[in-house]
Amino acid sequence: MSTRRKPETVQVVKKRRDAALRALVDGVPYITFLGIQFDRRGDELTGILPYSDKLIGNPMLQALHGGATASFLEVTSIITLSWEHLWADLESGALAVDEMDATHLPRLPKTIDFTVDYLRSGLPRDAYARARINRSGRRYASVHVEAWQDNRSKLFAQATGHFLMPQSRD
């Protein structure tokens, strides 16, 4: 009879995944500065940019600053890419979550280029973003990311970026 490992309880699984995601996100000062949070459903992430007055570009128009929107899209891309990259090690136990702190974070992908398409002005309310990894190789990755506010089908911005993946040091 094979000795199959008993499946982990849902609480154990969730605790580990949530702790890893929290360590990844909280370790980056600029993510905290923008107030970006991530909602996790299994391995799928949704970035959330809660509205704040400081995110406004032009106060006369009350529109989100293009730079805040670009930052939100880039952060969502990097975290999604990093999350996908770490997932296997996280699930196998190769990555020890309790040792992840600001100085022992996994290396993050580096942005090579990022192209933002501003489809409509960002309204003064919460924004959401989801990234899709179109290609993830050993060295390079290509990511597309979409952001919306009230309606999922009405994007206010989208972007495509290329990233250099962290290399293992051995």
Partner: protein, 140 residues
């Protein structure tokens, strides 16, 4: 300092997000804009090295490109970013100020074309380059 530059300086730092990042307009004339942003630990993207997040550089580039469009001799009444592409050439040196210079090199009735570079305090290659297209709202 000319009145025009002083008013423009106030305008840029009064934009909430640009103000939050500490951006300061240094030059603005004839479709060329120079804006700098001090190093700030809150804007770090890589906690291991202290390198600024690309998004913060992107916000600086966007602001600088928009300002360049507004200062173009064709006098646009307003502008908004249609598209902005950034290339990150190298990591900015931690602790150093980033200075962006944008040039609006062509304007049609509806579209303005801009390119920009961002440098830290090192000589040599820039930290990032950008190209963008912007809307041209009603002429003043």
């Amino acid at each position: 300092m000319s009145d025009k530059l002083r008013i423009a300086k106030q305008f840029i730092s009064a934009l909430p997000y640009s103000g939050a990042l500490g951006m300061e307009l240094q030059e603005l004339d004839g479709g060329v804009s120079v804006i700098d942003m001090p190093y700030d630990e809150r804007l770090v993207g890589d906690p291991r090295t202290g390198v600024l997040h690309g998004g913060a550089v992107s916000a600086l580039m966007d602001t600088c490109c928009g300002a360049a469009v507004m200062s173009h001799p064709s006098n646009p009444g307003g502008t908004a970013t249609i598209d902005l592409r950034i290339e990150y050439l190298r990591a900015a040196v931690p602790g150093q100020r980033i200075t962006a210079r944008a040039e609006c090199y062509h304007v049609t009735r509806s579209v303005a074309f801009v390119r920009a570079t961002a440098r830290d305090e090192e000589d040599g290659s820039p930290v990032a380059t950008a190209t963008g297209s912007f809307t041209v709202e009603g002429k003043r």
